[in-house]
């Protein structure tokens, strides 16, 4: 698996454009080509209004035309072949502009990142340039209604039929599947072997006969997450990613990229969804909230705002440290769970602090104060970040078992053929 690993250099390596001259070029191009963010809006809010992703596709097309799409993707697949340092410089320069941040997670940072490592040349040439041009949004079809944390225990079946596979079953928690074009779908191709050894990863076109996508209403009023139902969906065998029955290898790497993306370590994320969250020189949304409440002079509130700022600074510092440690081989790849857990717990703390700063208006508000109500709804979804992309409890298992080397949790299905294991 490590043979496939694609390493994005941390700094400019001499074959690349110097970071500072790149920064200046990006600055002037952005000013000419990209629309400014509307006053008081961030890219996260904008993309929430962009239900079908039309704006994101349009913005990504502009980036692609200007040669600023896929900065850290290889040139042969439509990227720019630059370093993380270039991407950071670009992110800083892009703060005032509308950016297609909808593409960042999962399309660029999880699925494109996995495809680069496991796709055939034909698959990569077919999809990566299209993704970077803004033509394809991707999602992952992993979790199932019968279980989330025990991913390898999934029951969606893919049955070979000549040079195709026929897929039946159901997936859940895919974000934005209704507006997306392709998915990586993990399905069981062999039930007579232990669970990890009978899975295969497929590229699946979403909008086709046999695939039904239903949006799920969430507590904060959004309907981003979806459930899919597969009824004899035909997938050609040219769309198998990696080897048949070796889908777990691909899925493990996909999950690594997911932790990296959610934890903030992915080099493929371009643009900043919420300014301030990256420790940038912008006033954070919480400071704005406190300012609106007239509480910036309150010592207790200042302590909380500083704590929030500290968490966000330390989160970025941790991401850089762990990425460096994994690159240097001083930490195993599962250490990516460390920043992922940090992100989850500091998001919880962020919303607790908001609850404290906003006081009553977060729960009971007049129409003209609806900005405060957003905090209330965000709070209702506080656990989202600790559940999506693997729960915090799973992250703690991963850290203790695969970073600290502690004994694994007992499992009743280990080394037992899947068709003899009790499951829902």
């Amino acid at each position: 698996m490590s043979a496939r690993e694609v390493v994005v250099p941390a700094e400019s390596d001499g074959t690349m454009e110097d970071v500072e001259s790149f920064r200046l070029r990006a600055r002037s191009w952005l000013a000419d080509a990209m629309p400014l963010l509307p006053e008081g809006m961030n890219n996260h809010q904008l993309s929430r209004q962009d239900e079908m992703g039309e704006r994101a596709r349009y913005l990504q097309r502009i980036l692609s035309g200007g040669g600023f799409a896929g900065l850290c993707f290889p040139r042969e697949y439509g990227g720019q072949g630059l370093s993380r340092a270039h991407q950071r410089a670009f992110n800083q320069e892009s703060l005032p502009y509308q950016m297609p941040t909808l593409f960042n997670v999962p399309t660029f940072s999880i699925l494109a990142a996995t495809l680069i490592e496991f796709g055939t040349e034909e698959q990569k040439h077919r999809h990566l340039p299209a993704i970077l041009r803004g033509d394809e949004l991707w999602v992952q079809f992993l979790s199932e209604p019968s279980g989330g944390s025990d991913l390898a225990g999934l029951v969606t079946r893919a049955t070979r039929d000549g040079d195709t596979f026929v897929i039946n079953g159901s997936k859940i928690w895919s974000s934005g599947a209704f507006r997306s074009d392709y998915a990586m779908c993990l399905a069981r191709t062999n039930s007579q072997v232990p669970k990890h050894r009978g899975l295969t990863m497929f590229i699946m076109k979403i909008h086709q006969p046999g695939v039904e996508v239903r949006q799920i209403a969430m507590v904060n009023g959004t309907a981003e997450f979806c459930q899919e139902f597969f009824d004899d969906v035909i997938v050609p065998d040219g769309d198998v990613v990696g080897e048949v029955d070796d889908g777990w290898t691909v899925a493990s790497r996909l999950l690594f990229h997911e932790r990296d993306a959610v934890g903030g370590g992915s080099p493929y994320i371009s643009g900043v969804a919420v300014a301030g969250s990256g420790g940038g020189a912008q006033r954070s949304d919480l400071v704005n909230l406190a300012a609106r409440m007239g509480k910036l002079g309150d010592v207790r509130v200042r302590q909380l705002l500083a704590e929030d700022r500290i968490n966000s600074r330390v989160q970025n510092q941790l991401v850089r440290r762990i990425s460096a440690g994994i690159r240097a081989g001083a930490l195993p790849p599962p250490a990516g769970a460390l920043p992922r857990l940090f992100a989850a717990t500091s998001t919880e703390r962020h919303l607790d602090i908001a609850l404290d700063v906003a006081g009553g208006s977060m729960a009971v508000w007049m129409d003209e104060d609806s900005e405060d109500a957003n905090w209330g709804e965000a709070f209702l979804n506080r656990q989202g970040g600790s559940l999506g992309g693997g729960s915090s409890e799973m992250a703690r298992n991963i850290i203790s078992e695969r970073v600290l080397g502690m004994p694994r949790e007992p499992a009743a299905d280990r080394d037992i053929p899947f068709d003899q294991v009790r499951h829902n």
Binding site: V287, A306, I310, R313, A328, L338, F342, N397, L404
Partner: protein
Amino acid sequence: MEFELTEDQALLRETTLKFLESTCPITTVRELADNEPRGFDPAWWKQAAELGWTSMLVTEDDGGGSVSGHGLVDLALVAEERGRLVAPGPFAPVNVVAEALSRRGTTGQRRRWLPGLLNGETVAAWCLGAPAAGLDHPGTPVVARRSEGNGLVLDGASQPVEAAAQSELLLVTALGSEGGLVQALVPSDTPGVRLHPARCLDLVRRFAQVTFEGVAVDPEWILDGPGTVASGVEQQLQTTVVLECAELAGALDRVLEMTVAYAFDRYSFGRPLASYQALKHRFADMKMWVEACHATASAAAHAVDADAADAAELTSVAKAYIGERGPVIVQDCVQLHGGIGVTWDHDIHLYLRRVVVNRTQHGTPSDHRERVFRAMDAEVSP
């Protein structure tokens, strides 16, 4: 530990660790605590100085220098190893004073004091005697009046100062009687200087309150003019805090390492503690916190070394974060050790002592959170 070291830095780290393990293992630390009123052996301190422990923040022209040319980053590597072995010695105080002298001292001041500090013969302490750099100074500050002939006369009291009673030289930060801060170099045997030893949780560090009563300072021993004093004091604070944080990160790393090893060795109900999910999850959290402590300590060292625009903020981010988390981590490790963890014979209390003392000195986490708030407020409303 830092993951991206140059070969020279890796060698420095290794040499430091070997030196500490061979000359000052924990058993020696315990002996010093019992038998050495100074808390460290002066001959040992000279050996440490030969390894560069006191010269990394001093320019090459003044006889200093460091392996990577990034003095504070290199010195923080030493601090981290010191933390891993709860090493004794006036490490931060001497380095802070040496750096201040080398950066801002006159030729006469540097000639008089730097050689002794560099070779370990002389010990110096930074006596922060007034509210400065956003930190409070409870009690009477040290006030500096201008004397005839443009010298100073110092009166007042400092809070307990590390290594003051072991030092020949005090760098005193005082409140100018006409406002602003003043810094002066005061030999500790100057008439009117009195040292009152304090007690300290850390068994090998010594603190003393310093009082000043009509202490005369010649003009030639005034450090900094009105233009540089505030930034000079801020610099001293940042350097001290970076070293404290690096030491904390090393200490926390070692405590977690010890506790993880214990969890593998200790069996109850026929299985190791490390196999219980309730405990594994706590270890996972601690591992995350310790890595975060390393990350923020190192970011602060790099920022201060590079004189970055956000060095003040990053220093306080590190101190607030590690200061807050540190004792929580060590206490949880005490808990995971069971009863043995609260006995005198177990080494963990030596670490707990070091961690608690470092948390409280040069600004508590609350003080540093206020500094972080001011930094971010200044950023948005210049």
